[in-house]
């Protein structure tokens, strides 16, 4: 076991993927010499060459569109979109082409493309650098959407995503890039939790807190604070946003009878809405309270001096937890 940052966990996972399969490619803006603006691809071009770690022109649609062509040729490209807010120029290629090619071809064409997107706020950035667009992709049939929350998952989930024969949108919590965790880089992915499964990160009895990506750490901190008030919070890291691991979610909520969903993305028409509806359908007679949601407001992402108000923090999560006991 080694203590690695989440960024390094991704780097080691990508290195393994490049080592294991000569068809794996990395492509994106500044991913080569620079190693990416977050250094996730640091050193990979030096070790695997410019043909496999490709510094692309500055054009997101071009990156994803050419990745599709490379996948049609038998390659397994991993694209980096530099920031969440820059994915939108590529949305046509992702939504209309990448997601639909298997369906269009009646199963004759697979596009094993991974699109890595640093997501979320909390780093004091300018506009377009702090967004959480995951639900746009979760709403698109044909895509898998996952979010890692720590270095160990980053290491395994990126490899599982590269192995997937479906296209994967891979969200990385950018404000957690430098958080450290123990990672066993010598181990393979075999036997690890599949990337389409949720994980009960912390067991509890009174309320289920569903979160993913950057808010898993916040959720664990909230659970620790709630414990001081005598409340036992079960923290579930969703990991897979599409498909949803409803079995794990349902089992937890049936046990606790209460459910709070937290994400940075706006609450309105967010992933929490889908989860609340499904939990209500499946756990109606087990629920002590309605499913409550905590998340971003129905506003564009604010200037960074206001982001602490926009982002769900420990207190706002605890407030929702408290409210589920008020019914």
């Amino acid at each position: 076991m080694t203590k690695l940052t989440l960024s390094r966990g991704l780097n080691e996972g990508l290195r393994k993927a490049l080592d294991n399969d000569p068809k794996v490619l990395i492509m994106g803006e500044d991913v080569g010499k620079l190693g990416g603006v977050f250094r996730v691809t640091d050193g990979l071009q030096k070790d695997f060459g410019e043909a496999r770690v490709i510094d692309t022109p500055l054009a997101e649609s071009g990156i994803v569109g050419t990745a599709i062509g490379l996948a049609l040729r038998g390659y397994r490209p991993v694209c980096e979109i530099q920031f969440d807010g820059f994915v939108f120029p590529a949305v046509d290629q992702i939504v209309s082409q990448l997601a639909k090619m298997r369906y269009r071809s009646l199963g004759k064409v697979s596009l094993p493309v991974v699109i890595r997107i640093p997501c979320g706020g909390g780093i004091g950035a300018v506009e377009h650098h702090s967004e959480s667009p995951e639900v746009l992709f979760a709403h698109t049939a044909g895509l898998r959407v996952v979010a890692c929350s720590d270095a160990a998952d980053a290491f395994t989930m990126i490899q599982q995503s590269v192995d997937s024969d479906d296209p994967v949108i891979f969200f990385e919590p950018k404000r957690r890039y430098w958080d450290k965790a123990e990672v066993d880089t010598a181990a393979g992915v075999a036997g690890t939790l599949p990337f389409d499964r949720a994980r009960v990160t912390l067991e509890g009895d009174d309320v289920t807190l569903l979160c993913y990506g950057p808010l898993v750490r916040t959720g664990l901190e909230a659970a620790a604070a709630a414990r001081e008030d005598g409340r036992s919070v079960e923290v579930v890291d969703l990991r897979s946003l599409s498909p949803l691991d409803m079995d794990t979610i349902t089992a937890s909520v049936r046990k606790t009878g209460r459910c709070v969903v937290a994400h940075e993305a706006p609450v309105f028409a967010g992933l929490g809405a889908e989860i609340a509806a499904r939990v209500t359908e499946r756990c109606f007679y087990h629920l002590e309270a309605p499913v409550l949601r905590v998340g971003g407001f129905a506003t564009p992402y604010p200037p960074s001096r206001l982001e602490e108000h926009y982002l769900p923090d420990l207190d706002r999560i605890l407030d929702a937890v408290d409210r589920t006991f008020g019914y």
Binding site: G69, L106, S164, P243
Partner: protein, 380 residues
Amino acid sequence: MTVESGAATTAVSAIDQPAPDLPDQAGEFVQLLTPEGERIDHPDYPLDLSADDIRSMYRDLVLVRAIDTVAISLQRQGELGIWASLLGQEAAQIGSGRALSPDDMVFPTYREHGVAWCRGIDPVKLLELYRGVSHGGWAPEEHKFHLYTIVIGAQTLHATGYAMGIQRDGTDEAVIAYFGDGATSQGDVNEAFVFASVFNAPMVFFCQNNQWAISEPLEKQSRIPLYQRARGFGFPGLRVDGNDVLACYAVTQKALQAAREGQGPTLIEAFTYRMGAHTTTDDPTRYRLASELEMWKLRDPIERVRAYLVRGGLAEPEFFAEVDAEAKREGARVREACRNMPDPPPLALFDNVYAEPTAILREEREQYAAYLDSFEGGDR
């Protein structure tokens, strides 16, 4: 600085002021066969085709036009939801399609029926898409012909990526990306030009400039001839008479060979004309003059080949009669196959979304199956 009201000024950007340099659309192009059927030589494109080759090209041109005509009538009869006719663009497609070697990969739009024909795709497969029984469904790698792409220009990036894959494989193959004049305004096409250029991708950009993007004429897309765009991206561009099957064949073959030899991309602008509507839902009488069509009829891509074959004594009347008869037979076969094409079973709509169906898909499929079964005589 103050501006006196009423001072005499010239409007610098009035909305009704035309662009100063309207496209020079009557410029030079590569032509090897005149509209009158006269064979002319071009120093850069020597072409030595046998009479058999040219008769075979003629046959292709006639057959794809016949199939196109049948498809239009099938749409009128309610057998197809829509059809995008290739009428007028047969030479551009057959000429370029026949220039491909078997290993070259094609990325078509939704109008490349003639190229599909050259790649051995059964026209009935194309009709599946327009009838609405599938979104495509042929095996792209088997025919080296990708699925039709409907979003304008998106396939040019796929083509470029595929060509980048060929470079990594180190093989002797090339890629051709088809698109139209309207597509040249799309970001994706311009991004494809950039990627193909800086990576020196082995590919040919084949633009069929049919003068119209639905109702918008070329001057809404460009102030310069389209082939000249290539220069700004750093690779060669040329214009060919898109109604001359021999010239389209020659320029495409040469550009593909250059790509295979590591010389990077070429843009070919095939100057042609969409003689029909954009699709069967379109009404060109609302936006263009009949006289324009009459002028282009004089440049028909098939008539000039027929004239050449007749004038040179390269084909007997029996040959033309046999091609016409074959076109009739093929048209009848396609018509019959289309009419007999069954709808897919309802639950097929859940297939092939993911490599393996997800839990949510399985659940929806089961629920919908039970719902269908709840009807008396429910048939799925």
